[in-house]
Symmetry: C2
Amino acid sequence: MDYTFHETMRIPYAAMRDWTQKLYMAVGMNEHDAWICADTAVMADARGVYSHGCMRTPIYCNRIMQGGTSASAQPSIEKERVATAIVDGHNAMGQVVAVYAMKIAIEKARQCGTASVSIKRGNHFGTCAYFAEMAVREDMIGFAWTNGGPVMAPWGGRERQLGNNPFAIALPCGKKRSIVLDMAQSVVARGKVVMAMKTKTPIPDTWALDTEGCPTTDPVAGYWGTVRPSGDYKGSGLSILVSMISSILPGAAIGATLVDLYEQLAVPFNAGQLLQVIDISAMTDLEEFKDRMDDYVEYLKNGKKAKGFTEIFVPGELEHIMYEKQMKEGVEYPLEIIQEYHALCEKLGVEKMA
Amino acid sequence: MDYTFHETMRIPYAAMRDWTQKLYMAVGMNEHDAWICADTAVMADARGVYSHGCMRTPIYCNRIMQGGTSASAQPSIEKERVATAIVDGHNAMGQVVAVYAMKIAIEKARQCGTASVSIKRGNHFGTCAYFAEMAVREDMIGFAWTNGGPVMAPWGGRERQLGNNPFAIALPCGKKRSIVLDMAQSVVARGKVVMAMKTKTPIPDTWALDTEGCPTTDPVAGYWGTVRPSGDYKGSGLSILVSMISSILPGAAIGATLVDLYEQLAVPFNAGQLLQVIDISAMTDLEEFKDRMDDYVEYLKNGKKAKGFTEIFVPGELEHIMYEKQMKEGVEYPLEIIQEYHALCEKLGVEKMA
């Protein structure tokens, strides 16, 4: 939402997805799996969540080429009960594993009313929202929790022991747009501290701690230190809990055993995730539920505004609005991403975009 | 944890529970239900969470006497599937309804691997942790989400449209103490703003917004305004989502239809809650899971400390330590609470404590 691009071009959603799909196929993925990786990326961009979109295609492809992630592996169920499963990702792309696992969760929730599916030997999977929203399209409530690479200290600490460990919860509305909360546990992404360091701009003291564990306005000190958890001990506690339910439960990597996505290209990540689904119709009348959701959204949006605000936005609304705009006008891309795609095309023998 | 009592006395856990149970029986509850209300209250106190302990007994008893809450109603299942249920609390005490609902969730998780139980026509139920920990004692993971009375504005607003909507997630360890995160979505409880107003102490500008929706250090302005969400838009978003999954799902009160617990003593609250359980053994080997939990807690606690900190505490640890101390020494109570109990004893014809 707050990215400032200097030179950009707009590319239609489907064109960018097709192009991205071809890149993934060129590194060995089948058409179906490559489509998933492409769609999750372009969807993130279309919603303005560029940090989790096509800018990651080069690193994901690199990891496949270096052997850190498998292009051809297929996830499978390791163990299941009627409303649960543990999915072994066999080191396939995280998006492929999570779509597979979410489909199982939805099917089980349809039968049982609710389901929980754990993922082990998965990978970084892009935005949590994408998978939570798969449930919404089936008139269900979706939850997606994931562990991430270490960027944050636990409250009282000064070492990067925790990821910012995002999760998403999504629910359908009736006439209104669906509600999707997708949040990480740090005040800002580490990328913002990196950007401030590059542009030599001081940072708010709420963003990062230095290597002594003290708040700092110096982006260099913050870069070598840790990003601060949102709400201090609350964000720290939530991050710890998310890592436990997403990674300790299935036996995925956690803490000291986590791999650096960008540095250890040849080493499997063993990401863990937890997906949960509740079938709304198991609890209540679906249409009544949707009416109640619409009414509540209306109630919140009609609240009196704080000084300096002209509108109250509900979770996911800004991303939906951005998506609708970009579906009409094309998805805006900074030229740097297009140039990286062209470089990747040359390397892989894929046709460049006209 | 940060309560300062002037004059206190220590009362053994069981004695305070028995006394509290008698008070609830005197307002018409049966022995079993009164025990639940007493145990949840004394447990909160023993852990240092005094805001949700016996200091609420007078208001809960008053609500029963005024007809706002039913002493004799028994919760029932309205609708169920193999892994879900919706429980109608019939306006019984929230603690009674939630214990009933959590037992169902545990039993269903034992059979299906996971379960979700929604509560409607419930009441304020004390701490979320109590119910999440019921799952932990069965070697399961417990989640408890609840909607609360309006104290907070949504991000961009200035009206009390949201509760601070706490939730708890709890997991068992092996040799270590279990992990329990129980957090509300405001930076501080509204009670802290009230206390600062009484003592005429300025408040940090992170605690509250005035009636214009601007941060304030004036506790009176904060009292008439709203408490601030933790992490601004993050806490606001999380609060909205918790209210949706806990109250819109089962059709409980939300937004403008919420009753003031302290002012509308004769009006049923219609609280909504969501309880979720995952049976660990459905996903992984239980002993291996516990070993992994122990190792991770050890890893976090061994992290280098930030300046000014001598120890890193994991979620729930401080409450467990306080509980262990108070089980040995007796639970510390401010004389005000004991005096309120004595007044209630006189009113109800219950024997006072020696």
